[in-house]
């Protein structure tokens, strides 16, 4: 189980004084996947990442990254993980070339050709100091450095915060190409639903420190449906709430919205028995999922 997981946590908990930042998190990220870690601000995304990299110590629970314990074998973890922080803060006084040199000497698996390729691709001026770069260029530099260490797992914490849509697109294009080429695992946190929907193959939603949703995008598309049903008379479909897979039944105007997970045919059959005027099946979007599980405070589309 551990071997096929890039990230595995069990009961991972982090308490800061009286604030429960991560609350018994059970997370599984398969190797080779692109995992979008969604959650509203303050949900525990960054703390989870810090726990994985041993920047912060867990209060309880365990985390393994690439088969290594995140606390006791942290050095092995950090040698195989590339990390881009939210608004990456890099040594401002250094020249880009000095920074690359620093990283080259730090990682045993450093690949100058890979780092150089991305520095060229982003047209980063190696002779300039980091403080002279724009915010977008700093993000690109952080990504180039992260990829230069040829990581088996790339952890990105809100990597495109503050980037314009073109830079964001470019950023993820590079990641997708890199993943296609190397089969790396990517774990990235975000509160931008469109970003996750476009890039990730699996989505987890963290809310108040707990993982409240975890599915592949394929599963979301094929299983999660909204059924909008309208009746002529005062008929209610609330009797369906006991059907396994029905998540909610909500009145909306003259109709009802039934949210279901993998039980569409059964719902249709049951509805057929109570003579609806109209039945419409709608695919649930990630925004719908997010709204349902995290209270809908993401950036939406």
């Amino acid at each position: 189980m551990t071997a096929e997981m890039a990230i595995l946590t069990r009961g991972l908990t982090k308490m800061y004084k009286d604030i429960l930042a991560v609350n018994g998190l059970d997370l599984e990220v398969r190797r080779g996947s692109i995992y979008g870690f969604l959650g509203p601000n303050g949900a525990g995304k960054t703390t989870t990442i810090k726990l994985l990299l041993n920047l912060t110590y867990p209060t309880s629970g365990i985390a393994t990254v690439l088969g290594h314990d995140a606390v006791t074998e942290s050095l092995a973890v950090r040698g195989r993980v590339g990390y881009v922080a939210e608004e990456p803060v890099i040594y401002e006084y250094m020249r880009v070339s000095d920074l690359v040199d620093f990283c080259r000497r730090t990682y045993t698996n450093w690949d100058m050709a890979v780092a150089g390729r991305y520095l060229d691709l982003f047209e980063l001026p190696v002779g300039k100091r980091v403080k002279e770069l724009s915010k977008g260029m700093k993000n690109q530099l952080a990504l180039s450095i992260a990829l230069g260490s040829r990581p088996e797992l790339l952890i990105l914490d809100e990597p495109t915060g503050g980037l314009d849509p073109i830079k964001t697109r470019e950023f993820f294009k590079v990641i997708l190409e890199q993943v296609a080429e190397t089969g790396q695992t990517v774990f990235f946190s975000s509160h931008r639903l469109y970003e996750v929907e476009r890039v990730a193959d699996t989505v987890g939603i963290i809310h108040k420190g707990r993982l409240v949703f975890n599915k592949s995008l394929d599963e979301i598309k094929s299983n999660l449906k909204k059924v909008r049903v309208v009746f002529n008379e005062e008929t209610s479909p609330t009797g369906l709430k006991d059907v396994p897979g029905v998540n909610s039944i909500i009145r909306q105007g003259r109709g009802w919205i039934i949210e279901c997970d993998g039980c569409l045919e059964e719902i249709k059959a049951k509805l057929g028995e109570i003579n609806p005027v109209d039945i419409e099946v709608i695919d649930m979007t990630l925004e719908d999922v997010f709204t349902r599980y995290a209270g809908g405070v993401g950036d939406g589309r």
């Binding site: 950090r78 040594y91 730090t106």
Partner: protein, 251 residues
Amino acid sequence: MAGKGLWIKEIQAGKFKFLIGLLVFGVVGVFIPLTYGTIARLMDTVPIPAQFVEQAKLLKDYGFYIWSQWFGKNLYQFATIMAVIFGSGIISTEVSKKTIQFLLAKPIRRQEVFMIKYVVNYSALALVVIISTLALYIAVITTGHSFPFTVIMQNTVMALAGSSVIFSTSVYFSTVFDQTLRSVLVSLAVALMFSIPGLFSVVRDFSIYYHMSGYEIFIGKGFPFIPVIVMIIVSGVLYQMANRRFSRRDF
């Protein structure tokens, strides 16, 4: 291997502090022997109040002049300030500038990060002390005077041992406070408190600055091994405390 980049990074990051320290110390070190003639002439020409006549006579003694102006005053005062400046920011600057996460996400043990930062910064401080004292000695020789080199060496050891205590104290506060300014201010306050025993002759032996000045060496009481050993042990304990705190805290 992994720490090699950090050694170079720390040396690069500290080079301006080192050069400024060296410039200030070096100028003062050279200035003291060069101004002896002027000071001695002033003693002869300017009327000296009766209560300062004895001190003036002492200052005319070349050996006393060099010791009192360098080891007995400027060196330990500057070394204390430099120790606070070099030590107070080694962790807190990384935290306040938010670069600590970038650094600690690299495959280097926290203990190694701490050790490299400590060694590079203390070495810079020690080099400033040693080079500026050598500059003073060269200035003594080139102006046609002499001063026992063994006394120079022994006094330098005392200054280094004392400054290591101040430096380690500052490093400890650097792991406590996230703002470098706060770390500097608290370290300076503690450094000031260290001077209190020196004000009372009964407890003068507990004063770091008394030992840093090398007074006992100068008056011929020999090299004070016990205070040196105690200061090294105190520095070691402070190093361990700071290292432990840094290794176990959340960032």
